[in-house]
Symmetry: C2
Amino acid sequence: MPEEKKISMAVIRRLPRYFRYLHDLLKLDIKRISSRELSERMCITASQIRQDLNCFGGFGQQGYGYNVESLYNEISRILGVDKRFTCIIVGAGNMGTALANYENFKKRGFDIVAIFDVDPAKIGGKINGIDIYSMDTLEDFVKQHKVDIAMLTVPNRTITEVAEKVTSVGIKGIWNFSPHELRLGEDVVVENVHLSDSLMVLGYRLRSKGY
Amino acid sequence: MPEEKKISMAVIRRLPRYFRYLHDLLKLDIKRISSRELSERMCITASQIRQDLNCFGGFGQQGYGYNVESLYNEISRILGVDKRFTCIIVGAGNMGTALANYENFKKRGFDIVAIFDVDPAKIGGKINGIDIYSMDTLEDFVKQHKVDIAMLTVPNRTITEVAEKVTSVGIKGIWNFSPHELRLGEDVVVENVHLSDSLMVLGYRLRSKGY
DNA sequence: TAGATTGTTAATCGATTAACAATC
DNA sequence: TAGATTGTTAATCGATTAACAATC
């Protein structure tokens, strides 16, 4: 990526948040915003906003602030929402079904083109218009279609095997919904959604407040 | 909470991870482990493990390491997996359905006792044996049952209203699946699951590797 | 006892915040 | 021009890592 030097994960994880807030400002028909105003809305410091944005370039103007539309476009470009990713879902259970039905992903550039499962009762069916195929056909499918991301919503006991299978056929991005950590090659990018971890942290925080 | 002084969020968010690894070690019938061995398994430094654990007390023994079972019990107690939380799901869509069917939550102390929705076609039905009630009856329900946590899987445009409703009836814990940030009272604990943020970060990281 | 490993203090590193000169 | 606000450097803060005395 020609996106300059090394951007810290802390900054990267804030990008979608900037994107959301700018999207809202656009919809509110607000034309310009200063780092101070945005900091009040987002509950972070103006300093941090200016530091974060300057990782990618000087998008503002002294004495004026930032043009909302052009900043939104810049953040969109940085996040690559114009680029498209081809995705498959592995595991047609409840979570897989929820993901397949989630319309926002397509808007953000993520196209779900197929679902895979081992259950003969599910294979051949569709979810939200997307075909469910047998796991046995995954390799052939990936040979014929470029697949960027596998969304893994399989049972915990099969996650390691499935993750190895999808990476062995060349998929580089894994969206992992199992609690297990995946140890895969250096070239594979894994994003974890650890639901029970999140819930346990909520429980801890509630108890530490005395509830 | 009598859990000593101030524990940083960074440490708290690592607790479920320790919990998982210790659970696995127990199942592997491993009796003792040193911070060095655990650090290799978890891919973090032994120093960090010792620092983290010492936020809560000295669970180890010089020259020996940590007893897996007793450390597991300590972490369980800290995370409060023995304590029970009463939860409701608001929004019986695909994500709500997925959560209602997720059996692990109960094992971790989170009991889902009711689901609420506005759709007359869904009200009166059940998901995984849990009744779906009308949103109009939420207030009465919470008056009759102590509810600790509301899991919010409602459409984005209604999230603010729903979050205000559940907090106004005294629910202190919110598990928020909408992309919106909730601005609620100081006494309310919110954990966010921002799925599209996570996916966008995955996309960013893939592109920054040149895929 | 000798070896191993913790608990804990000190050093380092990185991220956040403050400050301000540059400039629109 | 005067006022406002950025871009950027410096200061602070917090988290991670290293080191080692204590001790099992």
